[in-house]
């Protein structure tokens, strides 16, 4: 069935929530048991559809947070004025049914390629990049990996313990906290800028693959700086999540 992950019809399926993990006060990772799940690649997403009793429905896309071979999971950040995310983070429980369609995507994916991978995350943009790092760890890949993760403050950082573990195990993980830093913070502070990108980017000669994900303004600024550093545009993959 793995072959149908890319080719073939994409249909809505109903899964059952098997577990809800509290990542931060406003973020949940939701594991869904989907019969006949065709498997997924690191970086893909799925669409979720919620339907009210009167037939009103709303759809949103969420990046898959788990690695290929693992049960499918999404990580959802609660948006205060959102229509779907508050339901998923506050109401949904194990045992509930969830209608979804996926996996989706063939551009923003990492399949274990050996070239160094540069991962640049703005806020919840870290979700598909975590799936990539998780895949790398589970397969024992020798690919060099570097993650720069921009978040407002330390309590907003998702998957902190896991990412730090990757940092100890051969990947290079750094954070920049844009609004508030804890006392004694030794990571970066302030928004990602061209200087920071130049510091973390692998040299162009190593033919790195860059993956940039987060709010549109973050993605466009970072992608532009990478191209200015000499990264071929085809080596800078982008996924915009909207927002400011």
């Amino acid at each position: 069935m793995a072959g149908t992950a890319v080719r073939g019809r994409l249909t809505w399926q109903v899964g059952t929530v098997s577990e809800v993990i509290v990542e931060t006060p406003t973020v949940r990772t939701i594991y869904v048991d989907v019969p006949d799940w065709a498997g997924h690649r690191a970086g893909q997403h799925l669409d979720v559809r919620l339907t009210a009793e009167d037939g009103y429905s709303a759809e949103r896309s969420y990046s898959i947070a788990s690695a290929p071979g693992e049960p499918v999971a999404i990580t959802v950040q609660r948006l205060d004025d959102g229509e779907v995310s508050p339901y998923l983070t506050d109401e949904l429980r194990p045992g509930d049914e969830l209608e979804l369609r996926g996996p989706i995507g063939g551009y923003f994916v990492w399949d274990g390629e050996p070239e160094p991978m540069l991962l640049l995350a703005g806020g919840s943009g870290v979700v598909p990049l975590r799936a990539m790092l998780r895949h790398r760890a589970r397969t024992g890949s020798a690919t060099r990996a570097r993650l720069l993760y921009s978040a407002r403050a330390l309590p907003d950082v998702i998957y902190r313990a896991e990412l730090d573990e990757y940092g100890r195990d051969g990947a290079e993980v750094s954070y920049t906290l844009t609004k508030q830093q804890p006392p004694g913070w030794s990571g970066h502070a302030g928004r990602v800028d061209q200087v920071l990108i130049e510091q973390v980017a692998f040299p162009v000669e190593q033919h790195p693959a860059a993956y940039v994900c987060g709010p549109t303004s973050f993605v466009e600024a970072v992608a532009q700086w990478l191209v200015m550093l000499g990264y071929p545009p085809s080596r800078v993959k982008t996924e915009r999540f909207g927002g400011k």
């Binding site: 080719r7 073939g8 994409l10 997403h45 896309s61 989706i104 551009y107 923003f108 915009r240």
Partner: protein
């Protein structure tokens, strides 16, 4: 509204074309630029979904949905690999 990119319509296009489309290359009929669908500038949520050329903002695709049927207009693309 904040623009997204072609990744956001990956599910919709997969449904319409029967296959993954975000990595497919399209050629803008206005300026000739060739980019992958994931790089199109996408505006969601209006009466229809619009994808524009990242280089010249010309309309590439317009998708409207009516009673569970999707209608895709591709006249802004002179070429699209499927």
């Amino acid at each position: 509204m904040t623009a997204l990119d072609g990744n956001a319509i990956g599910g919709l296009l997969h449904e319409v074309f029967g296959t993954e489309m975000t990595a497919s290359v399209g050629t803008c009929a206005s300026c000739g630029s060739r980019r992958q669908v994931a790089e199109f500038v996408v505006y969601l949520g209006g009466p229809g979904t619009v994808a524009r050329c990242r280089d010249c903002l010309a309309l590439l695709m317009v998708v409207t949905s009516r009673q569970a049927m999707n209608c895709v207009d591709l006249t802004g693309l002179s070429d699209l690999a499927v």
